[in-house]
């Protein structure tokens, strides 16, 4: 079997995950660690199945909603911020550092402050996700937009291309790899932001379930929710990766 074949690419990580679960099981059995600290994989699985209808499904739907709406706002917003600022050298210089600072700020920390003004509003979670994802998408797109090889600029000038036309014909496709880097980092931050927003805002969602379950010592349920949250993050990331492999075929 070739080391690069599709089957290997899919099977290898699955085997590693199974091995990790077996390791988890072994650690629990050998060390006899308390159920409240680390339940066995089987127990987490049971908790997941038993609570699926009652709580997990609703929490998952709530989280998916926040993540998707937030992400779908952040993507065009980040893109437009990058597109506009790339047209002005001064804007690139001044906005880039700000975006980087925003990107590194954990936005869930703003929740207590927002709560003071608006009370607990469900859209607060979406706002957190948007604030967290937009800068990373903008920073990466912008760094793609401002680097266009001189020869390509000359080609567009030789054809008498207008500024906006060369932006869409050359700058954007040329920046596609960086744009997708931003979109994928956005997936990661989106999951983290949604979970931390759940925790600090409350009112349902997987993050909220994790918090409540652990405070009630229902550790198995907490782990079950964590597993689902991880799956959501991975799923979002994989969807974006598949789109990337369809679009960026020339690399």
């Amino acid at each position: 079997m070739k080391i690069n074949s599709k089957a290997v690419n899919i099977c290898a990580p699955i085997i590693v995950i199974i091995l990790l679960i077996i390791l988890w099981q072994i650690i629990c059995t050998v060390t006899n660690i308390s159920f409240h600290v680390l339940p066995k994989p089987g127990e987490v699985g049971t908790a997941l199945v038993e609570n699926f209808r009652g709580t997990i499904l609703l929490d998952t739907m709530a989280s998916v909603k926040v993540m998707l709406i937030g992400y779908c706002i952040a993507v065009p917003l980040g893109f437009v911020i990058a597109a506009i600022s790339s047209q002005f050298t001064l804007a690139v210089r001044s906005i880039m550092p700000v975006l980087i600072i925003l990107m590194l700020t954990p936005m869930a920390t703003l929740v207590p402050i927002f709560k003071l003004f608006w009370g607990v509003d469900p859209t607060l979670k979406i706002l957190i996700v948007v604030l967290q994802c937009t800068p990373v998408i903008a920073v990466n797109s912008l760094s793609g937009f401002i680097y266009v090889p001189e020869a390509k600029k000359e080609l567009m000038r030789a054809l008498g291309c207008r500024k906006w036309e060369s932006f869409f014909r050359v700058t954007v496709p040329n920046a596609m790899p960086q744009i997708f880097t931003g979109l994928k980092l956005g997936c990661i931050l989106c999951t983290i932001a949604a979970m931390s927003a759940d925790i600090s805002v409350g009112q349902g969602g997987l993050g909220y379930r994790i918090q409540v379950a652990s405070s009630l010592s229902a550790t198995d349920l907490a782990y079950a929710a964590i597993v689902v949250a991880a799956i959501l993050g991975v799923a979002l990331y994989m969807i974006v990766s598949v789109i990337e492999s369809r679009i960026v075929t020339w690399k």
Partner: protein
């Protein structure tokens, strides 16, 4: 044969570190319709700068241009650019587009929207360079020679009046280069287009050029002009044994060698 593209006293300097670098010091050059002109000169003498001014990629500081009876402002305009086909120093293809879309690009930018008509033009240009079966490839899947052929097709697709080439085959191996020279000569012969080509290769210049112009080191002018009175048939048949060619090659080699001593100012 009338003068088709005329440059008089073209000057150009660039901002260097704190001082102006004078690159072009009054280039006089006149290209006749349907001729093939080759321009030679040492590296850094301003060949690319000159052709970029002619192509409207950069503005000139001074001097006059008359192209097709029109005298454009500081920078050659878009309307005039539509009459030019440009081949760059590298192949300069857009790597995310197929061969077909790369060749179609000038038509799209020039606002020609008729799909069927565009398709006919693109396929005709691809046939001219022998790539009609590769229209669906992306540049990464092509050899260097094929990429350069694609960029020649892109330059030809809009049926320009003049073809401008800046060291188009400089990055290719000797054998591919020779093949592409033969193809370019055939294309010039069949399409009857005016051609201006920059080259650093004396054999190439004499094989293709009806005239060879030689630039001095920068700040540069055109300091030599050689007529190459060879017919198309003479060029394609045993050129290496042709006494006129051999004599001119010796002369051109001597001229090019004499450039190595910098010009006194």
């Amino acid at each position: 044969m009338s003068d088709f593209y005329t440059l008089t006293g073209i000057k150009k300097s660039f901002e260097g570190k704190g001082e102006l670098i004078h690159v072009l010091d009054g280039i006089d050059l006149s290209i006749r319709e349907k001729e093939f002109v080759c321009i030679m000169g040492n590296s850094g003498c301003g060949k690319s700068t000159l052709i970029k001014i002619m192509e409207g990629i950069i503005p000139r500081d001074g001097g006059e241009i008359i192209f097709d009876g029109i005298s454009p402002g500081k920078q050659v305009s878009k309307e005039l650019q539509k009459k030019m086909g440009i081949v760059f120093q590298g192949d300069n293809l857009l790597e995310w587009l197929t061969v077909y879309k790369n060749v179609e690009l000038p038509l799209k930018v020039f606002g020609q929207k008729d799909k069927a008509e565009n398709k006919a033009k693109v396929m005709e240009a691809l046939e001219l360079v022998g790539l009609q079966n590769y229209w669906d490839c992306i540049p990464r899947e092509l050899s260097g020679g094929m990429r350069q052929r694609t960029s020649i097709a892109r330059a030809l697709v809009s049926d320009p009046d003049i073809l401008m080439l800046d060291q188009p085959f400089g990055a290719l191996d000797a054998i591919t280069r020779k093949t592409l020279n033969q193809e370019l000569l055939r294309i010039w012969h069949t399409t009857q287009k005016t051609c201006v080509m920059i080259t650093n290769n004396e054999n190439e210049a004499l094989y293709l050029g009806g005239r060879v112009l030689v630039m001095s080191n920068s700040p540069s002018r055109i300091v030599h002009e050689i007529e190459v009175p060879l017919t198309y048939e003479e060029r394609v048949n045993n050129l290496a044994l042709n006494p006129i060619y051999l004599k001119l090659r010796t002369e051109l080699a001597r001229i090019v060698r004499s450039l190595d001593t910098p010009r006194q100012n």
